[in-house]
Symmetry: C2
Subunit: 445 residues, 2 copies
Amino acid sequence: MTRITSVDVTDVRFPTSLSMDGSDAMNKDGDYSATYVVLRTDDPRLAGYGFTFTIGRGNDICTLAARQRAEPLVGRDVAGVVGDLGGTYRDLAADSQMRWLGPDKGVEHLAMAAVMNAVWDLAARLAGKPLWRLLSEMDTEDLVDTLDLTYLSDVLTRQEAVDMLAETVPTRSARIADMDRTGYPCYTTSAGWLGYSDDKLRELAALAITNGYRHVKLKVGANLADDIRRCTIAREVIGWDAHLMIDANQVWDVPEAIEWVNALAQFKPLWIEEPTSPDDVLGHAAVRKAVAPIGVATGEHGMNRVLFKQLFQAEAIDYCQLDSARLASINEIIPVYLMAKKFGVPVCPHAGGVGLCELVQHLSVFDYVAVAGTTENRVTEFVDHLHEHFTDPCVVESGAYVLPTKPGYSAQMFAASVAEYAYPDGAYWSTRHPHAVVVSEAGVG
Amino acid sequence: MTRITSVDVTDVRFPTSLSMDGSDAMNKDGDYSATYVVLRTDDPRLAGYGFTFTIGRGNDICTLAARQRAEPLVGRDVAGVVGDLGGTYRDLAADSQMRWLGPDKGVEHLAMAAVMNAVWDLAARLAGKPLWRLLSEMDTEDLVDTLDLTYLSDVLTRQEAVDMLAETVPTRSARIADMDRTGYPCYTTSAGWLGYSDDKLRELAALAITNGYRHVKLKVGANLADDIRRCTIAREVIGWDAHLMIDANQVWDVPEAIEWVNALAQFKPLWIEEPTSPDDVLGHAAVRKAVAPIGVATGEHGMNRVLFKQLFQAEAIDYCQLDSARLASINEIIPVYLMAKKFGVPVCPHAGGVGLCELVQHLSVFDYVAVAGTTENRVTEFVDHLHEHFTDPCVVESGAYVLPTKPGYSAQMFAASVAEYAYPDGAYWSTRHPHAVVVSEAGVG
């Protein structure tokens, strides 16, 4: 019998604020960070890796929450934990005292995501399969047993979930072959960070098209004149056959969003992403009506399945951008995919950050193979940074994620990276006091 | 010049799970807890006290978050902090790295509530007024400057807020006199905890009526036969002139809520409280339509102003039960009151817990004096426990909160109580290892 012997949770922070990678109208100086969970077993060759993503300060709070959340796993039999992934999830979620701090939102939910991502990684490693394949080959009833359908039955019953998944079983192997041949289409945000100069934007947008991308995304929302100038540059570079997306990162109220997006309509964006508060279902619905045919996209801050249920019910979004480290892992993510299919909304997962690309490639492949059955009108985010810290980094070729083949959820980081960027005692932070102080002062201001 | 010299944040937990006080269908064994904030100044007679409320495990996480959130206050001039309560709020909320962990929800938002509650307490103490009076006598424009109206302008503009408040100014002193005479009407939840026996329910419900209450609330949702029996007992005791409310604490999906509540319709409850997920705006709207004329109430887990905006827009609730320790203090609470007035929804604040009654009495008085101008169809929760730990406990007579007169937000706890129930090192917890271990084991299970 193999047991989980310990759970290591590390606060890992990368100093991305130094280069303005990741800068947008709301998040000006993020230090991309991971609350990194390792489930160790008494088999030295077997461990589970997972994380949630934050942007710096507060990652220590998530780390503490993840340690507490994972504690019940210590001492358990691995086969029992991964043999009942629904039961494991429910056990960890059931603590009613901790539930009070959400429920299912904020720090506690991010911690749940980190821990359950590690559990699913462990399950896939034990099975010797990449996670997308584990999910695609799992018995339908068993897979549905893992799902958290709480509060969803007005939109998605257990039987509907079973039926939707069962329907795709006969044709899955053909679609796996497709994925092996073509990969899953992606787009790049790397060109469009708000802190980049016009020259850097022009250069990176051109590079994106050269590299086979058909979509380029720009951050907007700080200054309308700047946005018009940057969108003009982007269209000059990518032309009008490629897609331009714009992303406001929640900086607007609803009336302002409508006015601003319509002022950018001349650039024919495919979507406006995060026009307003991520909690505002009815606000997104109002924006969508007012800016059509420009699509509305949101989801990276979509706190839980109940929020997504309502986004679908209210016909509030054209694109669902669920987040693999904010939703409570596969148990909560697959229900969102199923609801999206029922309502005809394409899922284009949020990625970037730390390791989110590594995770979402599995989700998108599973969606194509077992849920949506199509890549039409779908494109998954890709941001080309921090992959060097992962042992099984995603590979993108000609604007598509190459089908991952290694066992697990691609969530393992190199021990050397974790050691170097552990906060505040890792080699990087402990030897760079000046920057550490700047970070701390910004927190105090 | 008086400065804030330090911020003490203490994890205080009361062992309420021992007596089943506070037990309901979702929260079976809460240890009512406070993340308790003290803003100390270099004037030993002046400090600000505030808290958020949790039910046990995870209160340490809130404590850490509140410490970080309050850090920028240390060293600041008290007059500057309380002279610009909007600026102070925005400063503390502006950290974009911490914002990522919400935004405006979960642990980080609870921490913000705790800190800003202490800031408002400090402001009222410095002014020598109870908080309700500070708010009622503040210049209208100055008061509106303190409010967080972000994401609300599609429903409430700044000018509307100014106009709504200005309209009540001429008549406020008359209503203050009313409050001094009658107090603010309340109801009791003390009778109806799910863990109480039928005899205890019968006895406490009778006592409530004897004590002048016109409303009694029961916890429901664990077992329908039990609920029918308990509602029968309650109606036998209180008769049909008094109001019976029922509270499911989020245990149902939407279809189940509709079915269950209609099965209890024979008892003519005034409202069903928390029928489903607190995040489910559209779910509450659906329940409301299906169970009318029974009202729908929710709000104690209402995460932020954007959630309440939507509850109003969707006509999802008949009673708004905002929480004084979950919303980010006065800055976010008054906007909810203003929106409630605009949509004609009475606010009946959630209370109980630790010290929530002490806070909400100020809110309800302010609502009567400066916003709603009426107590019609309004009643504020009262639960009779843990008041002995507060230096200025609320006083309830003949089913009404007596107008508080002491300076501040009534948020100060006795130092001896804090010392005794500090977790895990206070006298209570450190000498009761067996119970502390039980708590810990429950967390592990």
